[in-house]
């Protein structure tokens, strides 16, 4: 593992509080994920790839923005790995890079309709931008 990948791995483990070594590869997190079909990399792959230091593909995947933070994988993991927290950490490392916001304020007006609750907008900003 390169030094850069090792540093990234340690940062992800530190800010997520997740220990990927606890994973026993059962795949229940991905099986229960409501966004499974929309994802290139699935929750179990986030866990394995972070453990192996194969992190660059995760930083560049749209899967980061398909996770609904519904905590289904957190609730149902038999080993308490909490994959959603790892996905969140990767997403933050990605969006904290300069100019890497996934949603721009200028994009919002086109997305509005009469009924869209404010909650949707603030949540999307919290998840897609830094």
């Amino acid at each position: 593992m390169s030094q850069q990948n090792n540093n990234l791995k340690e940062e992800l483990i530190r800010i997520s509080g997740v220990n990927p070594k606890k994973c026993m590869r059962c795949g229940k997190c991905s099986a229960t994920c409501p966004a499974y079909e929309e994802m290139e990399y699935h929750p179990h792959e986030f866990v394995v790839m972070v453990e192996n230091g194969n992190i660059e593909p995760l930083l560049n995947t749209e899967s980061l923005y398909r996770c609904l933070t519904c905590f289904a994988c957190v609730e149902r993991c038999p080993r308490g790995v909490e994959p959603a927290k790892l996905v969140e950490a990767v997403r933050l490392v990605a969006t904290r890079r300069q100019g890497a916001n996934h949603m721009k304020a200028d994009d919002v007006p086109a997305k509005l309709d009469e009924d869209l609750p404010q909650q949707a907008i603030v949540s999307a900003f919290r998840k897609y931008t830094k």
Binding site: R14, P34, E38, Y65, V74, L92, P117, Q119, A120, S123
Partner: protein
């Protein structure tokens, strides 16, 4: 009894009725919701990362405001509840996070994590009691088949939210029974509606939401209820047969205060 109340952004705008019904019903049940002054938006979703501090301060300030008044803190919106409760839990369990929070909070006095947070449903169950609610019903639901939609935010993570069994909840079903309705138990009542992804991938949110409403209809539901404005938006956006309403609306109907609440919300 008086409690501190955090309505949140959406209950002041698109979900005014969710708020109005909640206040009216609480009064009928002997509880006054005292809105916290100068509250700020919770941010809609909790950020699980340990190094996210500033984004959680609005929740900490709300918790501290309730602590200063020596009251429990009540929320109605599922999202606010999830964010405030998870933030409280992080203050209680992550010392490094609590230290950082209290450095931000030094000028206004610290916060130690002792505020009790109730969702409105927990207030009904644990403080008022469903038996007492049953006594106050003036227009029972006459066995109407109601599908309860929990979604994700009220229940998960179960170790933090502690409202009910996250895989087999019954709190809202018990409320429906107290109001004279018949809860419909269907498979997808605690699966995600698509949430904020509706902002950038509405087709995906539509697919998630439709599978939930179709599932509920197949079990004979005539109405669906939720506590979350975003769930309601997603669920009803493409749904023509099954009305989706707030749980407080059903409560207001049964307690006979819906029309008054509708008038003042207009």
């Amino acid at each position: 009894m008086k409690v501190s109340y955090f309505p949140g952004c959406t209950l002041k705008t698109k979900a005014v009725k969710l708020d109005e019904y909640a206040r009216r019903c609480a009064e009928v049940l002997g509880v006054t919701l005292e809105e916290i002054e100068n509250w700020q938006c919770c941010g809609g979703v909790f950020t699980t990362s340990k190094d996210e501090v500033a984004t959680k301060l609005s929740s900490v300030r709300v918790l501290k405001a309730a602590q200063d008044k020596e009251q429990v803190l009540v929320t109605v919106c599922s999202a606010c509840h999830n964010v405030v409760k998870q933030t409280n839990h992080q203050v209680q369990t992550d010392k490094e996070f609590a230290d950082k929070v209290n450095r931000y909070m030094a000028a206004e006095g610290g916060y130690d994590g002792t505020t009790k947070v109730y969702h409105y449903l927990e207030l009904l169950r644990d403080v008022v009691g469903f038996d007492k609610i049953k006594e106050k019903v003036v227009k029972p639901l006459n066995g109407e088949k109601i599908a309860v939609y929990y979604g994700c935010l009220l229940l998960r993570p179960g170790t933090v939210m502690k409202m009910d069994d996250p895989e087999n909840p019954k709190i809202i079903e018990d409320l429906i029974r107290a109001l004279g309705g018949e809860p419909v138990i269907y498979n997808k009542r605690n699966e995600c509606c698509g949430g904020y992804v509706t902002m950038e991938n509405p087709a995906f949110a539509e697919k998630k939401s439709q599978s939930i409403t179709e599932n509920a209809k197949s079990f004979g539901a005539s109405r669906m209820i939720t506590a979350c404005p975003l769930c309601k938006y997603n669920l009803e956006k493409h749904e023509e047969e099954l009305p989706v309403v707030y749980f407080t609306e059903l409560l207001a109907e049964a307690l006979g205060v819906k029309e008054d609440a509708d008038e003042s919300a207009e």
